[in-house]
């Protein structure tokens, strides 16, 4: 596992929904190293801090990496201004990705802009993957067809019921888990969603991994700002989201810490 830092040309940029962009860069050495669930710390022109953005797709053969991000502030706005032919200044791939059990059925659960890092898992596992993805309403829906293209059993939910099932991702997740053959749940999304997913998995004794977000500095474990409270062997301590995560075993995370 190693990471790189450099400028990589943008070969494709598309708009997936209002304010949500997909960018593909030509970065063979990064693609070679990257695994689903990892992220990159990407320089936003004119800003001191890089923006941590999860890796959505890894083109192992083409030597490409794909990022899907939402404009949340001025930094991501500056990133969104970059066009095909320009380059992304990328530090990555960083952190620990998802640990995907071999040859077993899994469920990935995503909410909103937490969905992109799960697409790589769906790509790896195909029809062994049940993808439960939730969005606020139809205008925010992204990547659903691509989960289907991977032959993953894709369940779409919207908070307002404008498309797919109305309600939270937890209801379909409970149904899927109760079928009894899901070996692991991999989740990424807002904290309330993650907490609800972890609770369902705990009750049913299904191992769960969560991908966390925190305000980040260096991205490589040096500055210790992106901490999250974790517990191991009964001892509580702050872990670094960038280096020890962003994917953690759910039982180690103290969401209210």
């Amino acid at each position: 596992m190693s990471y790189f830092c450099g400028k990589y040309p943008i070969i494709e940029k598309t708009t997936l929904a209002k304010g949500i962009y997909s960018v593909i860069v030509d970065a063979p050495e990064l693609a070679d190293e990257a695994r689903p669930g990892q992220f990159a710390n990407i320089a936003a022109p004119g800003f001191t801090l890089r923006r941590p953005i999860s890796i959505c797709g890894i083109g192992k053969e083409r030597g490409t990496l794909r990022f899907v991000f939402e404009v949340r502030g001025k930094g991501t706005e500056a990133l969104a201004m970059l066009a095909e032919g320009e380059s992304l200044d990328i530090l990555g791939p960083l952190g620990n990705g998802f640990r995907v059990p071999d040859g077993k059925r899994i469920a990935v659960v995503g909410g909103g802009i937490g969905v992109p890092p799960l697409l790589g898992v769906s790509h790896m596992t195909g029809e062994l993957c049940t993808a439960i993805v939730g969005f606020r309403d139809y205008s925010k829906i992204i990547l659903v067809d691509e989960f289907k293209d991977n032959d993953s059993n894709t369940i779409l939910c919207t908070d307002d019921g404008s498309v797919g099932r109305q309600g939270l991702v937890t209801l379909p997740l409970a149904e899927e888990l109760d079928k009894g053959d899901i070996a692991a749940v991999l989740a990424c999304g807002p904290t309330p969603m993650l907490k609800a997913v972890v609770k369902l998995c705990e009750e049913r004794k299904v191992p769960c991994q969560v991908s966390l977000e925190q305000r980040m500095g260096c991205g490589v474990g040096a500055c210790v700002v992106c901490s999250c409270m974790t517990v191991r062997n009964g001892k509580e301590f702050y872990s670094r989201v960038c280096k020890d995560g962003p994917v953690f075993n759910a039982e180690e995370v103290r969401f209210d810490g």
Partner: protein
């Protein structure tokens, strides 16, 4: 090839660029990009005699040309540092500086004694951390406090002693003089400026600790001014820091009075920034026929 070396308190640095404490871990985090031997030295993550958990997150907020942090000295303790990190640092790095903080004088003494028996090259006394309730900057904001810790640690170690000053004071020159009088071998300055950001939507501070230390290019002119003032008042060398991100910044800091420089926040923006500064300095020396960087230290000609 020009000679970039500088000497501070009898310690020779192959070049004057040092990674600033708290921004480079203990040298283990950037080795995928380049070996730590490229840097003149590393000031390790601030350490305390006992391990410290640090402050709750969020611990970082961005600002115009800078960042605020409130890490709160999360570290594995002096003994953990000596056992786990120091052997590799010594093997792979150049000058290894242990940055030491404490809540009580006894903490500082215990840490200094442990480090005195270790392989670190220098000790940097952190009396300037704005992010811990007890200790840290509470020592550094008065002449008596700063002098007291310096005196106690001076007795506890024969290692070269750097005292890192806080800019959050009315008169930094008097503090610089006070620690010099108690046996500091060098000064490093400045630590971060106490600051705050508020989320206008939630009306809460972005940092969970409410306030934090501002660093980055935003503080550079303040750092240059303080180094300039202290250079004229003390006879010990100064390691200048605060927002340096280019070789031009480094030259400016040296003209103000710095013998060497530290870089921190710039590394987050560009991990290669220290190497670019080293290359830029070499080219600058060559172009201007400078044999030793110490020729430019303090050579600012005021109006």
């Amino acid at each position: 090839m020009v000679d970039l070396s500088v000497r501070i308190a009898g310690v020779e640095f192959p070049n004057p660029v040092i990674a600033a404490s708290g921004t480079y871990g203990n040298g283990e985090c950037y080795t995928d990009l380049y070996p730590i031997s490229k840097l003149g030295g590393i000031s390790c993550k601030g350490m305390t005699i006992e391990p410290k958990m640090g402050n709750p997150p969020p611990r970082i907020a961005e600002s115009y040309s800078g960042i605020l942090n409130s890490v709160g000295l999360q570290n594995i303790g002096v003994h953990g540092f000596i056992e786990y990190y120091l052997p590799t640092l010594k093997e792979e790095g150049n000058v290894i500086i242990a940055n030491v903080a404490g809540a009580t004088i006894d903490d500082y003494i215990a840490a200094a004694e442990a480090l005195d028996a270790s392989d670190v090259d220098m000790i940097e006394l952190n009396i300037s951390c704005p992010n811990v309730k007890a200790g840290g900057a509470t020592w550094g904001v008065t002449c008596e406090g700063a002098a007291g810790v310096t005196k106690a640690v001076r007795k506890a170690t024969s290692k070269p002693l750097i005292v890192k000053l806080t800019p959050n004071v009315t008169d930094i020159v008097s503090i610089a003089k006070a620690v010099e009088a108690e046996g500091a071998d060098a000064l490093s300055m400045i630590n971060t400026l106490l600051g705050m950001r508020i989320d206008i939507r939630t009306r809460r501070p972005i940092l969970r600790n409410n306030m934090g230390g501002l660093s980055g290019p935003a503080v550079f002119p303040v750092a240059v001014r303080m180094v300039y003032q202290c250079y004229k008042a003390v006879n010990i060398p100064i390691i200048g820091m605060g927002g340096i991100s280019t070789w031009e910044d480094a030259v400016e800091m040296m003209l103000a009075g710095a013998t060497a420089i530290q870089m921190g926040t710039a590394i987050f923006t560009d991990p290669y920034a220290p190497l670019n500064v080293i290359d830029g300095l070499a080219e600058y020396m060559e172009k201007n026929g400078i044999k030793s960087l110490s020729e430019i230290t303090g050579q600012c000609q005021p109006w």
